[in-house]
């Protein structure tokens, strides 16, 4: 049975061919759902707007990045912080049977919803017995 969507971090973290920066990132929390036709991935990216989201699929590696853009507060001092200042980044290994051209993304109130439609080969099919 094909694996659904795996976290690459469980094996070794995927390294892109060229590492652009030695940045520290925070892994966003995700929920992954599977329906007969699609995979749906919901990632929590609070403080990130549409312009700050970057989704890339290279082969079967899906990279989700979110750049925070908090509104500036002039003349204030941040004296207590629980959130992280780092941007978000998480890498996934996805089922190869996905229609890459039809991946949909929606960003609403800090939640990124990715819809990954399965290719026809992966959808469950009824086979009629003659």
């Amino acid at each position: 049975m094909n694996t659904v969507v795996n976290n690459l971090e469980q094996a070794a973290p995927a390294q892109p061919a060229a590492i652009e920066c030695e940045c520290e990132y925070v892994r966003p929390v995700v929920n992954i759902y599977e329906t007969p036709d699609t995979y749906v991935l919901e990632a929590e990216l609070p403080g990130v707007n549409k312009a700050g989201v970057s989704v890339q699929l290279e082969g079967n590696v899906l990279t989700v990045e979110g750049r925070r853009s908090p509104p500036a507060l002039p003349d204030t001092e941040l004296f207590y912080r629980e959130s992280s200042a780092a941007d978000f980044r998480r890498v996934f290994q996805v089922d190869p049977a996905i229609e890459a051209a039809k991946i949909g993304a929606r960003m609403e109130q800090g939640i990124l919803t990715l819809t990954l439609p399965k290719s026809d080969a992966a959808k469950p099919r009824k086979i009629a017995v003659a």
């Binding site: 929390v29 929920n31 992954i32 749906v40 507060l73 204030t76 004296f79 207590y80």
Partner: protein, 161 residues
């Protein structure tokens, strides 16, 4: 009843109404603070309901004129968030609707938390309750409260005789 010195709540969280403690109370309060799930100076001594899932991360910004509290609460609707301010304590509560079983397939991987949450934060200074503003954008709830007149920093002229 023993008397304890009343400490001004400047910055990290002693609730301004902390009463003097008898030895019995002192022990139970100490035990309660150790058992507290959140070891945060903001919530010290206050009831913070710990739901099935989690609690929003909160940042506090101190300005000359106003105090700003930001809470990370992605994926909510404005009408599901409740904010109340009473006696120097700001309470954020609400319900994150949704769930891992909501989609037809069920979640194969579930990390997000859902359900009711409540977090009470003791504010480090007095605020003007009439001028609270709240905004919810990009999943971050931002609450701005103007400081009460007496809480603003003032220059005091010292007379040298």
């Amino acid at each position: 009843m023993t008397l304890t010195r009343w400490q001004r709540p400047d910055g990290y969280g002693l609730a301004p109404w902390r009463r003097s403690l008898s030895p019995q109370d002192g022990l139970s309060q100490l035990l309660q603070s150790f058992a507290g799930v959140l070891d945060s100076p903001l919530d010290a001594g206050l009831e913070t309901q710990f739901p099935d899932g989690g609690l929003p991360a909160v940042d506090m910004h101190d300005g000359k004129e106003a105090l700003t509290v930001r809470a990370e609460l992605p994926g909510m609707k404005k009408e599901d968030i409740d904010i109340s301010l009473e006696g120097g304590v700001l309470t954020l509560s609400g319900e994150r609707k949704g769930g891992c079983d909501s989609e037809s397939g069920g979640a194969s991987h579930c990390e997000r938390w859902f359900g009711r949450f409540q977090r009470s934060i003791s504010l480090p200074c007095r605020v003007d309750t009439k001028t609270i503003k709240a905004a919810y954008t990009d999943g971050v709830l931002s609450i701005t409260m103007a400081k009460a007149e007496e809480a603003k920093a003032k220059k005091i002229k010292v007379q040298f005789n």
